[in-house]
């Protein structure tokens, strides 16, 4: 098939075969793990820095500003300078803080982000784990992140942090439900929970077009709930600046703060990547049924490009409403979930089931 030229499977396979011919299977596994781990670290660090820069530029454009302009051409090196600054900062531990938990919390948050990234297919053949329960793994692991936030709030010995952590706890536990249910809606359409299967199922048409009305509803519910799960505006109650100074990471400084900061942006990437994978066809190029000529032109664009193009588009949407809307209040955030998103979601699942059952999708 046409898109095979951009397939990474042969590339990864050749590395594996090359290593296997030289070393024992255990050593091969160890080396491969190290390579993959380093690749992810590098990706997270670089993409995180890029995202911070992108967010600052995007928000500046929304606000008729220029954003960072001083460090490097168009401020391109600004986030690197910020990162170096954060590395050099003193690590402060507040008096009477629970030292062990206080130091543990940022690692939990960042490790969870890494775990979820591992199942996201960036391009054909460029994925670490491909479970048959991939979607389930994503929802399960991403909810562990809240423990890190709760620990950070609790162990900081600061009332603002505690309020922020409690808010975050209530919020994430509620919005897990919507994320899960909107994904279930799409699983009904896909018929599989394996992420590679879901991507493969979108060869002819992306699911958001295939599932038309229920899929579009599920997409927006997913984006809203996903934003809430990443604690981004307008759901940034956990770190509501004007109310709680900085919420759960008020007391963190230096690299530990950077972990929270990075995790937030990685989570943003994860939500966008999941939305891309499940609704927008992952790395699949834009295909429309029988238009062979069109499809072949689209196939010329590599899968990696398609994936990042879609991810950035979803991220832009999330940044757009972050920089437009006021923040919700804590009771309203729960109202929104339990009185609006949940009923809509349940109804949407029924609708999708009916659509699939009667073959009403494209």
């Amino acid at each position: 098939m046409a898109f095979n030229i951009y397939d990474f499977t042969t590339f990864t396979k050749s590395i594996h075969d090359g290593l296997s011919s030289q070393l024992s299977p255990t050593a091969v596994l160890a080396i491969e793990w190290t390579i993959v781990g380093l690749a992810y670290l590098l990706f997270v660090a670089l993409f995180g820095l890029f995202l911070v820069y992108a967010e600052r530029k995007v928000c500046a454009a929304f606000q008729q500003r220029l954003g960072p302009m001083r460090v490097g051409p168009w401020g391109l090196l600004q986030t690197i300078a910020d990162f170096i600054k954060l590395l050099m900062k003193e690590l402060i531990t507040p008096k009477n803080a629970d030292k062990f938990l206080y130091n543990l919390a940022p690692f939990i948050v960042i490790i969870v982000s890494f775990l979820v990234i591992s199942v996201i297919p960036f391009a054909p053949g460029l994925v670490t784990f491909d479970f048959d329960i991939g979607i389930f793994f994503v929802t399960a692991v991403s909810s562990v992140g809240v423990i890190g936030i709760l620990l950070a709030g609790w162990s900081s010995n600061n009332k603002y942090s505690l309020i922020g952590a409690m808010r975050s706890g209530a919020q994430i536990v509620s919005y897990e439900l919507s994320v899960g249910l909107s994904l279930i809606t799409m699983i009904i359409l896909a018929g599989t929970m394996q992420i590679s299967g879901i991507v493969e199922g979108q060869r002819d048409l992306w699911f958001i077009f295939k599932g038309h009305v229920p899929a579009v509803i599920a997409f927006f519910v997913f984006v809203i709930a996903g934003t809430a799960e990443t604690n981004r505006g307008p759901f940034d109650l956990a770190e509501a600046e004007s109310e709680l100074t900085a919420g759960f990471h008020t007391e963190y400084s230096g690299i530990k703060f950077a972990f929270f900061f990075l995790a937030e942006y990685i989570n943003l990437f994860i939500v966008a990547a999941m939305a891309t994978t499940v609704f927008l066809g992952g790395w699949m190029p834009l295909h429309f049924g029988d238009f062979e000529g069109f499809n072949q032109i689209m196939d010329l664009i590599p899968g990696l490009f398609w994936f990042f193009f879609k991810v950035l588009a979803v991220m832009f949407l999330m940044m757009w409403f972050k920089w437009t809307f006021p923040r919700l209040r804590v009771d309203q955030i729960l109202n929104l979930e339990w009185k609006y998103l949940l009923p809509i979601n349940l109804f949407n699942i029924l609708l999708m089931a009916a659509v699939v059952l009667f073959g009403l999708h494209f």
Binding site: A61, Q64, R65, M69, W320, F321, Y340
Partner: protein, 160 residues
């Protein structure tokens, strides 16, 4: 049924108001050339400062190093913060008549609130407000200035 209708209406209305807001921000996002940020040190040459802008008190001198200050001290009295100190000296002219003249017109920029009262009170118009606003210095003693230039004297015909 009515309740469900209202519920759906409420949701749609809410979404509509949100979209209205997003349209406003989008309008500015997609017109990036309309940004309002000015990059300050770069735009120094094109920077427009109003003629009346009160940046600092200055004492204009003409080409013969002459000013209009008689040393009367009215500005010193009118200053609410004590930013101005007048030190006078006595000059004796050829005819042997004693005359008071300004020795040093000391101006503490660091204390000045730019209220314009000294300029308004000055009977001879010797001091005016300058438009320079970049006053940052490394040492605060540099903020104390002597407004009359060394060796300067009063213009002919300026009377108290």
């Amino acid at each position: 049924m009515k309740a469900i209708y209202n519920y759906i209406k409420e949701i749609l209305q809410g979404i509509w108001t949100l979209l209205t807001g997003m349209r406003v921000t989008a309008k500015y996002f997609f017109t990036p050339w309309k940004h309002v940020t000015q990059q300050y040190p770069e735009n120094r040459d094109t920077l427009k400062i109003a003629d009346r802008f009160r940046g600092e008190v200055i004492m204009p001198h003409n080409e013969n190093n002459e000013h209009k200050c008689t040393g009367c001290g009215i500005c010193e009295i009118n200053c609410p913060n004590g930013s101005i100190e007048i030190i006078t000296k006595t000059l004796v002219n050829e005819e042997g008549k004693k005359k008071r003249a300004i020795d040093q017109h000391i101006y503490h920029l660091g204390m000045c609130t730019f209220c314009n009262l000294c300029i308004k009170a000055c009977p001879t118009g010797a001091i005016v407000m300058g438009q320079r606003f970049e006053h940052a210095v490394w040492d605060r003693t540099l903020l104390t200035k002597v407004l009359n230039q060394p060796g300067s004297k009063i213009m002919e015909g300026v009377k108290e």
